[in-house]
């Protein structure tokens, strides 16, 4: 009704109100912009049959759901795809009106109304396509640049490295470079070798080692050494092993000279002990012999003494003064 009134006014006052037209055009543009802001599914009447899932069987429901999911995905892809021009609400409105027009008999009013959205649509569309073109072109040029200067082995590793690097450096870089996501991937994939080493080393370096702590079973268990092929490797390994053991307090008997010395020491000690034993045995024998000799002497002496006593006794009888029995006296 309002539009009708406007129309009448325009017709009646066409000569005096030429400057009404731009005003009206402005207003129309404003309304178009507003309409553009509204998503199409809210503004326009829904023409498709609403999907009715209730009475369907299980298989049919599943397929219908799948279909709807795919539709959603497709719609999202179409919405975000820069190549396909999105149909704004205005476009759809325009299409609807065309359809109506083709179906019904139309007034002249609707033609004019159509004209304005078309005009604004064209302008908006051009602008939009230009910006998309610009963006795509700049992105492509950057890609070409980087591709030319670097050699890219693979992009899978790049992604992994990217995650780790971002964790380490924080997400600041990532947020700032919202445009150059592709650039980052390329850079990271080059550093994969450096980073692998770095990460391992960093993690290892952060470990702390403490004083030697005595736990239940302490003694370090020696590892079995595999047999290396070359002599020099064996030697080197042995020298490191012995150094580690010595540092840990375990005695390593390595040095042939010292080993020889200790063998000789042992030998000498043994000799000395044997000598001492011999001496002891000798002295024992000697002592024994002496003692026995002394004893036998003493015994002989005693017997002798006894004999002498007897003789003395006998002689005593004969030594009496005036004894006449002596053989040798008369």
């Amino acid at each position: 009704m309002q539009m009708g009134k406007k129309k009448d006014k325009a017709l009646n006052e066409s000569e005096s109100t030429i400057d009404m037209k731009p005003m009206i055009h402005e207003n129309a543009q404003f309304f178009d912009k507003l309409v553009e802001l509204i998503p199409a599914r809210f503004y326009l009447p829904d023409e498709k049959d609403k999907p009715w899932f209730q009475g369907l069987s299980k298989a049919e429901k599943a397929s219908a759901k799948k279909q709807s999911r795919e539709n959603i995905k497709k719609a999202r892809r179409d919405r975000l795809d820069p190549e396909k021009s999105t149909k704004t609400t205005l476009d759809l409105l325009k299409e609807n009106l065309e359809k109506e027009k083709s179906n019904m008999d139309s007034d002249g009013e609707e033609k004019e109304i159509e004209v304005r959205p078309i005009m604004s649509d064209l302008d908006g569309g051009e602008e939009r396509s230009v910006t998309y073109e610009e963006l795509r072109g700049s992105l492509r040029s950057k890609i070409e640049e980087l591709r030319g200067s670097r050699n890219i082995p693979s992009s899978d590793k790049g992604k992994k490295r990217k995650n780790e690097r971002n964790d380490k450096k924080g997400n600041l870089q990532k947020k700032q470079k919202s445009d150059g996501v592709v650039e980052e991937k390329k850079i990271d994939s080059i550093n994969d070798e450096h980073n692998v080493e770095k990460d391992i080393v960093e993690e290892a370096a952060n470990k702390l080692i403490f004083s030697r702590v005595k736990l239940g079973d302490n003694e370090d268990k020696r590892e079995d050494s595999k047999k290396e092929s070359t002599k020099s490797e064996l030697l080197a390994k042995h020298s490191w092993k012995s150094a580690m053991d010595r540092a840990a307090g375990i005695k390593v008997h390595d040095n042939p000279k010292l080993l020889k010395q200790s063998i000789q020491k042992e030998k000498k000690r043994h000799q000395k002990n044997a000598e001492k034993w011999h001496e002891r045995v000798e002295t024992m024998k000697k002592l024994k012999a002496e003692k026995q000799q002394k004893r036998s002497e003493n015994i002989a002496d005693k017997i002798h003494q006894k004999k002498m006593l007897r003789i003395a006794k006998r002689e005593k009888k004969l030594l009496r003064p005036g004894f006449e029995g002596r053989k040798g006296s008369t």
């Binding site: 850079i187 080059i190 550093n191 450096h194 080393v201 290892a204 370096a205 952060n206 470990k207 702390l208 080692i209 403490f210 004083s211 030697r212 702590v213 005595k214 736990l215 302490n218 080197a236 020298s239 490191w240 012995s242 150094a243 580690m244 010595r246 540092a247 840990a248 307090g249 005695k251 390595d254 040095n255 010292l258």
Partner: protein
């Protein structure tokens, strides 16, 4: 006649026999392992600051070291070795000076490996005490051996592994079941920086401070000094005044521990205490230059500058002649090493762009 008691009580004074030498056991009766003992001495004439550094190192290694070790000019390494055997000394720390820089050699006695460190920088204990506002040295700080923490050494290189083993075994073992918390009062920290290949050597004293108590109350309890209540109306003001927390209290969350036993009047069991480290003792920046298989002899198992062969430090008082030759080669090789490092750095920087 009344008995006259001898009121002058003669207290039986046990004659104090001062044990001039601590009876040091060779075997730790708790862990059953041999206690490592050390000698710290110098080869050659050292300038003043280095002699003080030697003294600081001796104090660091207390109690299992000879504090008043006297060495004469004519003593050789062999003499020290001969004395070390009967006394049960397991490690030698030898300081020496050449024209480039001082060197510290850490050796395990009977035939052990020798690690040679070049001392790039050092600070004496007195310097550090002077730089601090409140230097702290409680009386029995050196009665117990220090703990040791090594960081950055776990990369798995052979020479680093050997270094860790050596340092771990210079100080006696800790039995976590029977160790007394009050005996852990010092800590030695060695930090390896793999980029510069330098080892930072630091020595701290450990202090436990109860957390969650306001500063005034804590100081009052610890110092027994009557606080100044002139400006306060009531004792409750003193107790409940909300003071500013000190700077260091803010970041204490990681460093608080819950004690399992009472340590002192203020640090009680199952309350939170903050572990505070205050630096004492010398500070050094070391670089591992050489590892020899024997005691200052033997084959060279690792050399920083890649010189194999027989460029050994002479064992006499002045080993300067040979040292100079070695130093020249070291300079050349170090330059090459630096160039290599620069290239790597350049690559990394450009990649980050």
């Amino acid at each position: 006649m009344a008995r006259f008691h001898n009121r002058k009580k003669k207290v039986f004074v046990k004659p104090i026999v001062k044990k001039n030498q601590q009876q040091q056991s060779n075997v730790d009766h708790i862990t059953g392992n041999k206690i490592p003992k050390s000698f710290v001495f110098s080869r050659g004439k050292l300038p003043g600051p280095l002699r003080q550094l030697q003294m600081d190192l001796r104090k660091l290694m207390l109690p299992y070291t000879a504090l008043n070790l006297k060495e004469k000019k004519r003593n050789n390494l062999k003499d020290f070795l001969n004395v070390a055997g009967p006394m049960g000394v397991t490690h030698f720390l030898i300081l020496s000076k050449t024209e480039t820089s001082p060197f510290l050699r850490v050796a395990k006695t009977p035939q052990g490996p020798t690690l040679t460190f070049k001392i790039h920088e050092y600070s004496l204990a007195v310097d550090i005490a002077q730089s601090q506002l409140r230097p702290r040295c409680p009386q029995d700080l050196f009665k117990n051996p220090p703990l040791i923490v090594l960081s950055g050494f776990a990369t798995g290189d052979e020479h680093l592994k050997l270094t860790t083993t050596m340092f771990k075994n210079i100080f006696p073992d800790i039995d976590i079941n029977t160790v007394k918390l009050s005996s852990c009062q010092r800590i030695v920290l060695l930090n390896y920086n793999k980029d510069t290949k330098l080892i930072d050597f630091r020595h701290y004293s450990i202090r436990l401070q109860p957390v969650g108590v306001s500063r005034r109350i804590r100081k009052f309890v610890q110092n027994h000094q009557v606080p100044d209540l002139r400006n306060l109306q009531d004792v409750s003001d003193f107790v409940t005044k909300a003071g500013y927390g000190s700077e260091s209290e803010a970041d204490e969350e990681a460093a608080t521990v819950t004690l399992t036993s009472d340590l002192s009047r203020v640090n009680r069991a199952s309350t939170k205490s903050a572990v505070k480290l205050q630096e004492i003792g010398p500070r050094m920046t070391l670089q591992l230059t050489k590892i020899e298989g024997g005691l200052c002899s033997g084959e060279i198992m690792f050399s920083e500058y890649g010189n194999g062969g027989d460029k050994r430090k002479a064992d006499s008082e002045e080993g300067n002649g040979k040292e100079d030759g070695e130093n020249d080669d070291e300079m050349e090789d170090s330059e090459e090493d630096n160039e290599g490092e620069d290239n790597e750095e350049n690559i990394e920087e450009s990649d980050e762009d």
